[in-house]
Symmetry: C2
DNA sequence: TAAACATGCAACTATTTGGTTGCCTGTTCC
DNA sequence: GGAACAGGCAACCAAATAGTTGCATGTTTA
């Protein structure tokens, strides 16, 4: 319907919400941390740093980035700071990709129908 | 099974493949370009730049980033350089998120079962 | 209580990134 | 052929990022 689209995907607020999550996912170290938390959660900063070639402070920074977009939650337990994954933003990101992908498939189908009609 | 996991998610090659795609998606401008290409493709650089507050050269750089991870394909048509979306990397990224999300749900379920058994 | 541990904070560095401007080349179209 | 258009290339800039080191603080635990 209508030649006037733009709607769902380009709506600025939607983009502004998703871009930071993808940016947070766009780093190998952070992706590794997420995977690690996904398999053996919860983990303290030191535990996570022990598995990594980089320093504890670097790991902390990465964890704060992930926390900033809601991909992990931190809880202080005694002297340790324990992190746990939160899959919700992950699912929203996945849904967004599915939406774009779907919309593109639809566009291709419309194009195909148009071409065939013309022939 | 087995307590020795790590496998699927932390495997280095997998991470190395996905991180750059997420990084490419982690910018509002590029997300806007993708959405735009998804709705009215194919588009030339100038067309895309006309919709944007930033310069043509900046748009070009962003398009090259997207092209670098295979999210778009470029084709020279006369003097114009026309871009089209490729949904395949998008779907792989989506699948990866789904996998992490799924694995996390499983981990939660195992934890819950463990706690209940203990009680 | 003292040692060992877990973390936070701050300063600093190097690299990457997002953006710009200026200029040059190739392509349409009148 | 010449004007207008589409794009490439290169130099440059400012801000953000990924990483480091050094040190101070709170928490276990022997």
């Amino acid at each position: 319907m209508s030649g006037k689209q733009s709607s769902a995907l380009t709506a600025a607020p939607l983009l502004r919400r998703h871009a930071p999550v993808f940016a947070a996912l766009g780093d190998e170290t952070r992706l590794t941390l997420l995977a690690r938390l996904c398999e053996r959660a919860p983990c303290s900063i030191s535990q996570l740093a022990a598995d990594s070639p980089i320093t504890r402070q670097a790991i902390t920074k990465h964890l704060r980035v992930l926390e900033g977009v809601g991909l992990v939650r931190a809880e202080a337990i005694g002297r340790a700071c324990v992190f746990e994954l939160d899959a919700e933003p992950l699912e929203r990101a996945r849904d967004y990709l599915a939406l774009v992908s779907q919309q593109w498939d639809d566009a291709l189908a419309r194009l195909k129908a148009f071409v065939e009609k013309k022939t």
